[in-house]
């Protein structure tokens, strides 16, 4: 079903909105949730929560890209769930690895008193993404938005694992420099 029709179902408060969303984007949302939570059951609950959130958000929202709208909700909910349930589970999850890698971007930041507006930081991240070549941007977001494993990224984008790791390392350094330059660190 066309996205506009699905969104209209939400506006009409039709229960079919959720079933049609599930049919079209269930697997996509599930893959995001699973990438973060590494648990089929937890991922399913996150996807269910995503539908609830979407139901509550549309209306008033009328998302232009439904997939991304749902994907962002799923990512947020899944990370929150991960924080609540699995923060200390070492070794298996990509989130803990992603966080450790992102430490490279923020390590040595002593200005802990500084309260950075999230909105401001988001704008800075998007400005940074604007500057990246397409392949680097894709690899960066595959790792830190979708939480894909290095192996999966290498497979999807046909790079070697070492190439992916090297690209990510360089991109994180670039991000760190930009954050320093813009006064966030």
């Amino acid at each position: 079903m066309d996205d506009e029709l699905i969104v209209q179902l939400y506006w009409d408060r039709s229960e079919n909105a959720i079933s049609e969303t599930d049919r079209k984007y269930g697997a996509y949302c599930h893959s995001i949730a699973y990438g973060i939570l590494q648990s089929k059951e937890d991922a399913e609950e996150s996807v269910n929560d995503t539908y609830m959130d979407a139901w509550n958000s549309i209306p008033p929202h009328r998302p232009s890209i439904l997939a991304t709208f749902l994907g962002k909700i799923t990512r947020r909910i899944s990370i929150d769930r991960w924080r609540n349930l699995n923060r200390v589970k070492r070794g298996g999850g990509e989130v803990i690895l992603a966080l450790e890698e992102l430490e490279q971007c923020v390590a040595g930041s002593h200005d802990v008193e500084k309260e950075i507006e999230k909105k401001e930081l988001v704008q800075a991240i998007n400005r940074f993404l604007d500057t990246l070549p397409v392949p680097e941007r894709r690899v960066f977001l595959a790792r830190y938005w979708y939480m894909d494993s290095i192996q999966d990224i290498a497979t999807h984008f046909k790079f070697s694992k070492s190439k992916v790791m090297s690209m990510l390392f360089r991109t994180r350094n670039k991000l760190r420099r930009q954050l320093e330059k813009e006064g966030y660190l």
Binding site: M1, D2, Q8, L9, D12, S14, E15, N16, I18, S19, D22, R23, K24, Y25, G26, A27, Y28, H30, Y34, K40, E45, V47, N48, Y51, M52, S64, A67, T68, G71, K72, R76, I79, R83, R87, G91, G92, V95, L99, E103, V106, D111, K114, I116, K118, L121, I125, N126, L129, V134, R137, R138, L141, A142, Y144, W145, T155, H156, F157, K158, L185
Partner: protein, 550 residues
């Protein structure tokens, strides 16, 4: 700043960038689109009471009025059905006793120590780390968990009044989809011993509806683009009352071997590597041919784009050219032609899969034409798709208990009933893609069959035990049924047993407040067991949690 904050901020990356990564990944894995359509339907909204229903204290509604036959919930789990026999047997009578146990509603205390101990894959130091963290989160030493399911024990005492032993095939029905079989399948026991059963699957239990065009003006939704599931027990009444649905479930699947087909198999496609900078974001193959739309029907596997030019007698089908290392690389693509053969088939590579794309690339594919029958051709194509669905990375069971033969049989059944083989096919399946046929995710009625012997003049106890999900309204819909869970049963629908009595028991576990019912339970006065009226075809129970912390 912490890396957590950075991770959250990255989550708000521009939509087009996020979508771009998805597109890039999809292009690399063209099977994704097929996977999506198949698996999406399997994700059932298993709403956990403690998350959405519990503690909401929602209005229960006036109760009674307007609910003479129970509520119509937004998500209907289906009733509990009665046992039946494959062949009616007048020597056998049945006493039924059904217990609805709210034990899963009882919050279970999970101590932080138990939580840490459950992480069996961790080292002792890591387990200690888990324990420390949970102690921080739950300083009271643990947390409560509960569920909205109930446990149903549906027990029958079958008595043989004749002077001969009676060997009969019992059939126990339940509603589920293939995907949820592992959750919904009852356990059957005879005289307290669990027995093996044979699974029979009914066809799709719902109907179709339109795409809600002009709904606001007409309040009608004609068409057949969307699935329409059964919304109340009367839907199952219509489905089961004349026995034909069961007979189909017990019968053979359609045999399509007398339908001649021509199969075009496409193997070893090749083309340029994906290269955004060179303007080749998704190298794709496009197959074009001429056909008479009145005399030819086309089914396919592996293709995921298409062009239908009925006016000029032209059809096109396309796929992204998989590269080595991609998922399902090496799988063939099939066009299955029913009726007159297509003519003047050509192929051409393009820079993307979009049909408005004009930019060609050098590409090729090996095309093999064979004459076969639909049974053989469809079995081969369905086998590849089944392999995709049960691929370990797809979050579907890798070795589902229903197996390929049941999947394939139900696919054929769906195709004959609603697909391109049907005179009145659903618009939903107009593409002819076998991946589009709804097989594993749709609701059906299943039966578990077993053979038992009831000695002359004696009785045997048959029990079905299973978890039953509630019917509910989505919490966010703010209906009067917000926070209410519904469970229902039918007394005789679809059963040929001669019942002498039926008794319903409620194990409320102190967890519920009854909002609506027609059983006659009275928790205040301790009435938790009632004899059912055999003239009443349907009983319902609608409850909400009575614990503020639930």
């Amino acid at each position: 700043m912490k890396s957590d904050e950075l991770l959250d901020a990255i989550g708000e990356a521009k939509d087009e960038y996020v979508q771009d990564v998805r597109n890039a990944k999809v292009k690399k894995m063209p099977g994704w689109a097929k996977w999506t359509s198949a698996i999406a339907a399997c994700l059932v909204l298993t709403i956990v009471v403690s998350l959405f229903f519990g503690g909401m204290g929602g209005n229960a509604g006036a109760g009674g009025s307007g609910h003479e036959d129970g509520s119509t919930f937004m998500s209907y789990a289906g009733p509990v059905f009665p046992l039946t026999l494959r062949d009616e047997n007048t020597s056998i009578s049945a006493d039924r006793r059904i217990t609805m146990d709210f034990e899963p509603w009882v919050p279970v205390w999970i101590s932080n120590e138990e939580e840490a101990a459950s992480r069996t894959n961790l080292t002792e130091a890591e387990k200690q780390d888990v324990l420390d963290t949970y102690n921080e989160w739950y300083p009271e030493g643990g947390r409560y968990q509960s569920s909205g399911n109930i446990i149903v024990s549906d027990t029958y005492t079958l008595s043989n009044s004749s002077e001969e032993d009676q060997t009969v095939s019992i059939l126990y029905p339940f509603a589920s989809s293939l995907n949820n079989l592992s959750v919904n399948r009852p356990t059957i026991s005879v005289n307290g011993h669990k027995i093996e059963t044979m699974l029979h699957a009914g066809s799709y239990a719902g109907t179709f509806q339109g795409a809600w065009e002009n709904w606001a003006e007409t309040h009608e939704n004609p068409g057949s683009l969307n699935l329409q599931y059964i919304e109340s027990w009367t839907g199952y009444q219509n489905l089961l009352s004349d026995g034909s649905y069961l007979q189909r479930a017990l019968g053979e699947y359609p045999d399509l071997s007398d339908i001649p087909v021509i199969v075009y198999t496409f193997t070893d496609p090749w083309g340029p590597e994906e290269d955004d900078d060179a303007g080749i974001p998704n190298p794709s193959m496009r197959i074009m041919f001429e056909m008479d739309y009145e005399k030819t029907r086309v089914m396919s596997y592996g293709f995921h784009s298409g062009l239908n030019d009925r006016e000029n007698g032209i059809m096109g089908r396309g796929f992204s050219i998989r590269e080595e290392g991609e998922r399902w690389y090496g799988n063939p693509y099939f066009l299955i032609i029913i009726g007159d053969d297509v003519q003047n088939m050509t192929y051409q590579g393009y820079v993307t899969g979009g049909w408005d794309t004009k930019n060609e690339v050098e590409a090729g594919v090996t095309i093999t034409r064979t004459e076969s029958n639909l049974e053989s051709a469809l079995r081969e194509a369905a086998g590849f798709y089944y392999g995709e669905m049960t691929d370990v990375e797809n979050y579907v069971e890798t070795d589902p208990e229903y197996g390929f033969e049941m999947y394939y049989g139900l696919l054929k059944e769906h195709l004959v009933a609603y697909g391109v083989l049907s005179e009145n096919g659903a618009a939903r399946y107009d593409s002819g893609w076998i991946e589009e046929l709804d097989v594993v995710g749709v609701d059906r009625v299943f039966w578990l069959e077993a053979e038992i012997t009831i000695p002359a003049g004696e009785s045997v106890t048959v029990a079905a035990t299973f978890k039953k999900e509630p019917s509910f309204d989505f919490h966010c819909a703010n209906t009067e049924n917000k926070g209410i869970s519904g469970y229902d049963m039918v007394t005789a629908l679809g059963s040929n047993l001669q019942f002498t009595q039926q008794i319903a028991c409620l194990e409320d576990r102190g967890q519920i407040e009854i909002v609506r019912q027609n059983f006659g339970f009275d928790l205040e006065n301790g009435i938790k067991e009632v004899t059912l009226d055999m003239n009443e075809p349907h009983y319902y129970l609608e409850v909400k949690g009575n614990k503020s912390d639930k």
